[in-house]
Amino acid sequence: MSKFDRFTLTGIVMLVLLIAAPFVVAQTGWHGGLPLLTRIVIYALAVVSLDLIIGYGALVSFGHAMFFSVGGYMVAVLAYHTNMGDTIFGWEGTNSALVLWPLALLACALLGLVIGYLALKTRGVQFIMITLAFAQMVYFILVSLQYYGGDDGLMMDMRNTMPGIDLDDPFAFYYLALGLLVLWVLFCRFIVNSRFGMVFQGLRQSERRAVNLGVNPLPFRLAAFVISAVGTGLAGVLWANYAEFVTPDMATWAKSGEFMAIVTLGGLGTLLGPIAGAAAFIGLEQILTIWTEHWMIVMGPILVLIALFGQQGMLGRFLKGGRHD
């Protein structure tokens, strides 16, 4: 079976499972089921985006939670102003998703552009540390926003409004998130297979070769970084609506590490693997938290094992057709 077939097959199987899952869960009468599935889909959106730059470009960003938090804060803060009746920069805010969501993604794109430009001057471990440090900067700024709850975070009175879709309906919200995930995976797949994506991957294999062919690496890497930031920001937007609550915790480095762990667990550079990774990780987290409040004592060693033995991830070997590249 060719690599393409395996991708399509896996994608279809996953999609069928994710479409059917809410009905299956509803049959069991378990109320936590749909929220769990929604969390998985939202996380999947974030980690697929991260896979785009780590898996295909070897750009290990240790600060992606900052885009997650900025996406979330944008919608929560602007909606807050509408509800409070005061203005922000002379604007009374809005609760309309059609306005808020694009604005939030734009903010993530701009932030990604600035931080990417600075961070991409470096490679390897420098890049890891610099993305981490910028995320910390965002974290401290969020903590210092006393007006928006500071450390405690900001509650949303209601979810954003969208014509034709009731975001308050858990089913509708889940399927909206799933639809966005599908579109995003297809978009990322398109990017990866395009000329742009080929150059981007070529840079990972040999920067010198690409440079000798007359390629300037920065625009390619920067564009991929910004796309990845936007996808993670969209996950943040959905998360804010799901939880109806944003806190600076969304920007912590532990969150960034969690994203990286999920990508690796699922399979680097496969786009679909991370979705399976998200399901496994969040499912495991759910099971462990029921079992013990000290679940980190189990999760920690699991991360170590993933790092030591799980280089291919859950689906890496299958989706890459057993080939190493």
């Binding site: 780590i54 070897a58 290990v60 240790f62 600075l118 001057k121 470096t122 390897g124 471990v125 420098q126 890891i128 540390m129 610099i130 981490l132 440090a133 910028f134 910390q136 900067m137 401290f140 700024i141 903590v143 210092s144 926003l145 006393q146 007006y147 480095w253 532990a254 590490g257 990286m260 762990a261 690796t264 680097l268 000290h294 980190m296 004592i297 999760m299 920690g300 060693p301 699991i302 991360l303 170590v304 094992l305 993933i306 790092a307 030591l308 280089q311």
Partner: protein, 304 residues
């Protein structure tokens, strides 16, 4: 003027403390190419071992020994069980494995010692303050930290530049295979460097313990700051770690003292208050961004 000198001393003290952590982290990275997030955890282990030993024996020197031994032993355990297998692997896996170790260690310490912070008294011979000159009395404990930091800096400089061990370290950083082929036991060399880094963390932990609460997440907070230090200084360079630590120490302490004043003088109070608080906590990251704009690989890049 007195206030200014006091702030500079505070900056020096914070810088010396950061250097104790940054030197080990940068050595481990520069020589073994490992990005080690558990560095902050060694610091926490050191602080706990120190504080608990002082509480039960009453002797600061016993605490000092326990802190360095505890952090050093835990460092060796981490090296031999996990980090050793990651030397030639992608940084991503090093980050994940050491992140997992942090989560594990934090939870394990919580289970053993509990969640509430521990406080450690300043040892009697370092209590009180000395009058440096009329009008400026400075706490002895903080002076001790400055002295220890500077002594370690000098000691490391001697070790790296004027001993056989240091020569092997530098050679191993440049070309591991060659040094290996010359009959040097690289495994032992790496273990020693890793252990040395962990011992310095323990030292930092026990020296800082009387000045702040010993608690679970203390390692992570300082770890990120330590990263900023070595990114500014140039990853892998001891000299860079020293300069970076001092710069970060100064910017942090002077920022805390003067940024709010400047902002309240220029802006309405409500705005100034929020902005200043944000800028003060983010100031070292702003410093880092500025340095990177000019020198992407830090002030003293270890390898070009």
């Amino acid at each position: 003027m007195i206030l200014f000198i006091e702030q500079v001393l505070n900056g020096l003290q914070y810088g010396a403390f950061l250097f104790l952590l940054a030197s080990g982290l940068t050595l481990v990275f520069g020589i073994m190419g490992v990005i080690n997030l558990t560095h902050g955890t060694f610091y926490m282990i050191g602080a706990y071992c120190g504080a608990l030993t002082v509480a039960s024996t009453g002797s600061f020197f016993m605490g000092l020994l326990a802190a360095m031994a505890g952090a050093g032993l835990y460092g060796l355990l981490v090296e031999s069980t996990v980090v050793r297998w990651l030397y030639n692997r992608d940084h991503l896996y090093q980050v994940l494995a050491t992140l997992g170790l942090i989560l594990f260690t934090n939870e394990a310490v919580t289970l053993i010692v509990g969640r509430s912070p521990i406080f450690m008294n300043i040892p009697p011979f370092l209590e009180g303050s000395v009058t440096l000159f009329p009008g400026l009395a400075y706490p002895l404990m903080r002076l001790a930290l400055i002295v220890v930091g500077l002594a370690v800096a000098f000691g490391l400089w001697l070790l790296v530049n004027h001993t056989r061990f240091g020569m092997l370290m530098r050679a191993g950083a440049d070309d591991r295979q060659m040094v290996d082929a010359l009959g040097v036991n690289m495994r032992r060399l790496y273990m020693s460097v890793f252990g040395l880094g962990a011992i310095l963390c323990g030292l930092a932990g026990v020296m800082a313990a009387p000045l702040l609460a010993v608690e679970i997440a203390m390692g992570e907070r300082i770890l990120i700051t330590t990263f900023v230090v070595i990114v500014i200084g140039g990853v892998g360079s001891i000299r860079g770690a020293f300069v970076g630590a001092m710069l970060v120490g100064m910017v942090d302490s002077l920022g805390r003292a003067y940024v709010p004043q400047i902002f309240t003088a220029l802006l309405p109070y409500s705005v100034a208050d929020t902005l200043a608080a944000g800028l003060v906590s983010a100031s070292i990251y702003v410093l880092m961004a500025l340095v990177l704009l000019v020198r992407p690989y830090g002030l003293f890049p270890a390898r070009s």
